[in-house]
Amino acid sequence: MIAALALGLVLTYRASGVVNFAHAAVGMYVAFAYYELRQSGELVLPVLGLPDRVPIVDRPTVLTALVTCTLLAAACGILIHGLVFRPLRDAPALGRVVASLGLFLYVQALVDLRFRTRGGTTFQIASMLPEGSVRIGGVVVFTDRFVLAGLVTAATALLWAAFRWTRVGLATRAAAASEKGALLTGLAPDRLAALNWAVATALGGVAVVLAAPIAGLDPGLTSLLIVPALAAALLGGLSGFWATLAAGLGIGMLQAGISRFATTADWLPDWVPKGGLQQGLPFLAILAAMTWRGSSLPTRGMEVTDHHQVAPPVSRSWPLPLVVATAGTIGLLGFGSEWRLGLIVSMVSAVLCLSYVVVTGFVGQISLAQLAIAGVAGFLTARLGTQAGIPFPLAPALAVLAAGAVGVLAGVPALRIRGMTLAIATLAFATTTEELVFKSSAFTAGLGGTTVPRPELFGLDLGIQGRGDAYPRVAFGFLVLGVLVALIVVALNLRRAGTGRRWLAVRANERAAAAAGIDVRLAKLSAFAWSAVFAGAGGVLLAYQRTELSVQSFVVVQSLALLALVYVAGIGSVTGALVAGALSIGGIVTAVLGTGGGRTAQYQFAVTGVALILSAIHNPQGLVGALHSWRQHRRARRRAPEPVEAAG
């Protein structure tokens, strides 16, 4: 299945230069639609707002359902291409990443909303492939897996042949090489790309459908299969079908092998997460391989410049923190229980968002590992407080420092890879951390939960717990506000100092930065370290706010959602992080708008997803960036009746 998904990724990448993070999620939706169709005879449509479902036939056969869903998947592929990625053809890498993250969130929310999935799958998933097992060289191989591998190999052969010998394949290769050239020869690159998208999505959908009996179908897990699939696609160099197939099958077999090894090896200590080992280890290897293959500076001829959101200059460090402190104080003292909670959630999110502003906004490195780093700090705080008995201000401080160290580790791949590839590498890092660290009983008390000790300073209770309307306690609010204001000052200092200038220089152009005597590695690592410190502080606050932590507290999906929010708000400035915090799920804006009901979060994910795609297409500068440009435009018009000589 990994191989099949990876093939789809390669196909879309070759068609339109996009690494589609939502590929597995779309496949998952198709699989859900298939099983729903088999069960109820109704086809679930992918667009919120249209009627939920359309009855097709009463008791569809396997063939009917499969054909219907293949068509549905192909239609989704065309839709995604036309609505999302075609308008983004010339957009910066970050914009495309964000759009595909938006798609990911949307599909994820769609599956949660349309199929009643919480609390276990409700489908009977019957295998369509022959069951049984054969022995090959003393190893038992299940027939269904064997057949699946065979089918994927056949698909690979078909794709390879099509790309090599048919007119359409040739045209796709031509269009990938030069879109203008393809246009001149009378080919329609858009139609070609749409076709490739359709094939890729159909392939992914069918793969998930067929593999569901083996791998299971879970809204939380299936869409994250994107990570190994991406890894396989990358190992295949994002272009070779056979190499991708080999890499995909290899990763799958490696995982199966590790899984068997982990369950049989008794000598492994208890704290090693058995399930996590299977997921985590291959990524470590892939991360290493990707890092090793990269180059420390972009070479000549490589596309080095990318458009970034503006990072508006900051002239003074004090006004913004002052405004935040005042507004926060008024809010904490004046609001009722519900709004106060919203405000606190927003402030915690803003701290997390600041970490994105530093690493992605200021230095241009796309990191999807921030929430994993926050998790490390959060769990450490709990661990240090309960087990080691380290008191309040010290335990979180140590945790934040540790987060900084982890951030440096997460930043190592960035020294040699960049852009899309780096985004994938950090995603792999986050998943590895989740699987190997968060699921380890030594660190987080396993899958259960960890209680976070109450913060207390000089006998003053700074915890969030209180009775009735006293929850959340105002004192905790001030703790959060204090941390937020302090970190805003730090972020503004960094932006204004030499470090900030060097970061922006690296963001603008790594080669030129090196030529200006800037240590690019130091700049990147220091940015990752600082942003990890911010993320760590956010993680600690999140831990105190939740009072109990589990593996679910820091899942990758939320990391994606946060990055997306900051991008929409404006990732180049501290103000952007604050706006993103206000807009965050469960934050002050949600509280004030007064939405209720358990489904809100899902709808908000869906809306965020759509907003993300739209803003990547229409407002790549972000809210704050757009405001800044508008203000500058107005100032320029007022100031200069005689414009400066424009062209030489």
Partner: protein
């Protein structure tokens, strides 16, 4: 007069293609050396290899007896060897002043930590101001690179390379895309650099510029040095004429020949077969 930059048997291969074939080059301190050659001769590769942007397969680079082999670019910059890029590659998010300030600060690693915890120190920008003044950019200091006309943009790129008081600067086609007036302005600025203690290696296609400002000229073809010497000697070298100016060209072309050899007033001389974007 001592040798500042010394390149010995420098060899660079790109996937089987021999881009530089045992190139020897010496540049005397406080002079302007020119490097010319047809497209694909390896001029930019030479700059990349000397400044550490491309790995070399053999040979040595020394700056005043200090071996630079294996050092990453930013450490070569700190050793006193800077460069510009053909496509300028200015920092678009920073003002002209900040572009220069970034290039002349030499921070220690802990400053990346300290900068978050203290008030931003007031930068000492005397070097920046002096360089801006010297290149006539003082009025444009607070503009963003995108707002500048072409000529000043080229000067900003040079200013950024010399603001840190390097011993040597390598200029990669600084006159590409400039008109005649701008090129003359550039030439005036270049002649000033040796007096500031900066040695120059100039790569350009504009022959009147190269022959006009350089003390020595080195001609590269297909990764090999085919001639070295004062401009007047190189201009008359038969091998140079064959390789670079085209076999048909006379040593003293009057009308139809390429503008390379004479003090051609058009000033935008380009090599035959050149295809500049």
């Amino acid at each position: 007069m001592t040798t500042l930059l010394s390149v010995r048997e420098l060899t660079v291969r790109y996937e089987g293609l021999l881009a530089l074939d045992a190139v020897d080059l010496e540049v005397t301190e406080r002079t302007i050396a020119g490097l010319i050659g047809p497209n694909g001769a390896g001029k930019s590769t030479l700059i990349d290899a000397v400044t550490g942007f491309t790995p070399t397969h053999a040979g040595h680079v020394r700056l005043a007896d200090r071996p630079l082999d294996g050092l990453p670019p930013h450490l070569r910059v700190r050793a006193g060897l800077t460069r510009t890029f053909q496509s300028l590659e200015l920092f678009d998010d920073l003002t002209v002043r900040e572009n220069l300030a970034v290039a002349c600060s030499r921070p220690r690693w802990w400053e990346a930590v300290m900068d978050g915890l203290r008030r931003p120190p007031v930068a000492d920008d005397r070097a920046v101001a002096a360089t801006l003044e010297a290149l006539g950019l003082a009025d444009l200091a607070d503009a963003l690179p995108a707002e500048l006309p072409n000529g000043p943009r080229h000067l900003v790129a040079i200013a950024r390379a010399v603001v840190g008081q390097p011993r040597m600067v390598l200029l990669d086609e600084p006159a590409a895309g400039l008109d005649q007036r701008e090129t003359q302005l550039l030439a005036t600025s270049l002649r000033r650099l040796p007096d500031l203690g900066i040695t120059v290696l100039l790569v350009d296609h504009d022959m009147s510029l190269v022959l006009g400002v350089c003390d020595t000229v080195c001609v590269l073809d297909l990764g090999r040095v085919i001639a070295t010497g004062p401009p007047s000697v190189v201009r008359a070298d038969p091998a140079v004429i064959t390789a670079y100016l085209g076999t048909a060209a006379e040593p003293e072309p009057d009308t139809a020949g390429p503008p390379a050899a004479g003090p051609d007033p058009s000033g935008t001389g380009q090599a035959p077969g050149e295809d500049r974007p």
